[in-house]
């Protein structure tokens, strides 16, 4: 089942592009979207780079402090929430 969880699962555009960003920054195809990235060998510096790419792509500032678990699924939900809410107001970041 893990192989099937790569890129070919139906997913929203946001989730799909976050998967793409993780794969590109991590330099690894195989990643489980439901599992905390830190559990899958993602170091904090790589995670920060992933966040930077997400912020750049969507012109937002993802607030990781509100992230329960650093999985792709949780990240996608957070990004979607920010895009739907006051995402634009937060652009520029801190």
């Amino acid at each position: 089942m893990t192989a099937a969880q790569r890129t070919d699962v139906p997913a929203s555009d946001v989730r799909q592009s976050i998967i793409g960003i993780v794969q590109a920054v991590l330099d690894r195809e195989v990643i489980d979207p439901a599992v905390d990235l830190f559990d899958q060998g993602v170091p904090s510096l790589v995670f920060l780079r992933i966040l930077a790419r997400i912020n750049e792509k969507y012109d937002i500032a993802v607030d990781v402090a509100t992230l329960e678990e650093a999985s792709i699924d949780e990240l996608s939900a957070l990004v979607q929430a920010q895009l739907g809410g006051d995402g634009q107001a937060q652009q520029g970041g801190c």
């Binding site: 893990t2 195989v30 060998g41 170091p43 790589v46």
Partner: protein, 523 residues
């Protein structure tokens, strides 16, 4: 001189002198010296009643919270030594640590029940102010009853990566730690006005420096949330609001902080809002040039930036070197300075003879920081804790495996490892340990790991997998193999030992000497 021979005795002195002072704080909670003393006394009483006394190892399973500090102090006060059992480790690793250390009792925070419950028969639970025993917990067959702790009693056993596949426990005594602070006092002048941040996990010995640097001097220890390592912004904000004066960092972690502080268009942060007086680096090689943006903005006087070289086996730190603006002109060598006064550092050749100045050799360390050795591993202890050449006049030296040279002015320069050991983000990684785990994955014929530099301090652990022949056909075999390997590392290894990147290769490059060519792999 600190007022006592044991960590908990000195703490107790501080608690008596100023019981209302804050000892430990978190974002929502603060505990005074008096309260911490009282709570750890209660735990110590329970442990002593269960038969804990000097040199009895006691597991300590707690996240970064007040319970960890209460547990640590309670164990030490009972005479025992703490063995950190990280609740975030996989069950396999937890059970290895419990069985290898053979701890007869575990002190656990109630919120780690998911990890530890059922993994050990004798558990003393900490639940806020309450202490309770896991049903069935019985007293140890104890020898002599109450006794006074001595400096040569064990204080902790911390596990480090092992080259043969299994991690090994390093046994450190109270006197090893107490003298570290006594000996470095002249440089740092720690006192009760200092606020320390606990940035590192209690499973790593940088935490020993952070915790006791506060508690031996009447200072305040701020327990940073564990998520701080993934959010430099949060770290910066906490350093400011908590008015931290002493910050300890691996160069990798500090680099992340620099990246945020000196992000384009955001370079006018004023240090006046901060109380930092010392930033101490350890855990891995420091290239002073990475500090250029910081030093150009804030200079090198406040805070003072200090590089310290050290190894768990020689009790946190061995050497001391303040970094100055002049170091920015260097060529990337890692200056580690001069030994802590009660340590002798020798640079020896392959025959164990001292080399001349400016000639690289292996670092050997002698003196008060050299620990008792590896738990239950007399052969390994004899290999690494050696007598040395007679001409040195030393009884016991720790053979570091680190390459260094001594400049004519006496200063030491760190050059790297003699062996395959990797240092990634300050974590000590024996490739053999990760490789053994990966070679257990069905379909993997051979596995090798190496560090690979992805640029701008982004160094990652990369696994190279040679597939077994049978896996050469079918759909996405490589992805399946990687997925299986990744899942296996997740089940067996702690996070810091899990590879970040996987490469399928048909063969492993070999050096002329017939060894795995990790440098070629990393390219």
């Amino acid at each position: 001189m600190l007022p006592g021979n044991c960590l908990h005795e000195i703490f107790r002195e501080r608690a008596r002198a100023a019981p209302d002072r804050i000892a430990v704080s978190t974002s929502g909670d603060a505990v005074t010296y008096g309260e911490l003393d009282r709570r750890s006394d209660l735990l110590a009483g329970r442990l002593a009643a269960l038969g804990v006394r000097s040199d009895v190892l006691v597991g300590l399973c707690a996240r970064r919270g007040t319970a960890a500090i209460v547990g640590m102090l309670g164990i030490l006060k009972s005479g025992g030594a703490y063995v950190p059992i990280d609740p975030s480790y996989p069950a396999d690793r937890v059970s290895y640590l419990l069985s290898d250390s053979a701890v007869p009792i575990v002190v656990a925070d109630r919120d780690t029940a998911g990890t530890i419950s059922g993994a050990h028969p004798a558990i003393v639970w900490l639940d806020g102010d309450r202490i309770s025993l896991e049903p069935g917990t019985t007293a140890l067959a104890s020898g002599d009853g109450a006794r006074v702790s001595a400096g040569h009693d064990l204080a902790y056993v911390i596990y480090t990566s092992g080259s043969t596949g299994a991690p090994k426990g390093v046994m450190v005594e109270h006197r090893n730690v107490v003298r570290l602070f006594d000996q470095t006092e002249q440089w740092f002048h720690f006192d009760d006005r200092d606020t320390w941040s606990l940035f590192h996990s209690i499973s790593f010995d940088f935490s020993v420096w952070e915790i006791w640097g506060a508690l031996l001097y009447g200072g305040r220890l701020v327990l940073l949330p564990e998520t701080v390592s993934r959010s430099p912004e949060l770290l910066i904000s906490l350093l400011r609001t908590e008015q931290v004066t002493v910050l300890n960092q691996t160069p990798s972690a500090f680099h992340q902080l620099l990246a945020v502080m000196f992000a384009a268009g955001d370079d006018d942060r004023d240090l006046a809002e901060f109380a930092l007086r010392l930033v101490i680096f350890g855990g891995e090689r420091l290239d002073p040039r990475m500090l250029a943006p910081w030093m150009r903005r804030y200079g090198d006087q406040r805070p003072v930036l200090v590089n310290m070289y050290g190894i768990t086996e020689t009790t946190v730190h061995c050497t001391y070197r303040p970094i100055t603006i002049a170091d920015l002109d260097g060529e990337g060598a890692s200056p580690i300075g001069w030994p802590v006064p009660d340590l002798r550092v020798y640079i020896l050749d392959a025959d164990g003879r001292p080399v001349r100045d400016d000639v690289p050799g292996e670092m050997y360390v002698a003196g008060g920081g050299v620990s008792r050795g590896y738990l239950n591993q007399p052969e390994l202890t004899a290999q690494r804790f050696v007598g040395g050449d007679e001409s040195l006049g030393e009884i016991r030296l720790y053979r570091s495996g680190d390459r260094a040279m001594r400049r004519p002015d006496g200063e030491l320069v760190y050059l790297g490892r003699m062996d395959d050991q990797l240092k990634i983000r300050g974590y000590r990684i024996e490739p053999g340990e990760v490789e053994e785990c990966l070679s257990d994955v069905p379909g993997v014929a051979r596995a090798v790991v190496a560090s690979s530099d992805f640029g701008d301090h982004d160094v990652r652990l990369v696994a190279y997998l040679v597939p077994a022949r049978a896996v050469g056909s079918g759909q996405l075999p490589e992805a399946e193999l990687v997925a299986a390997a990744e899942r296996h590392t997740r089940a067996v290894l702690p996070r810091h030992l899990r590879p970040s990147v996987y490469r399928i290769v048909s063969e492993i490059p070999i050096t002329l000497q017939g060894k795995v060519d990790r440098d070629a792999l990393g390219k």
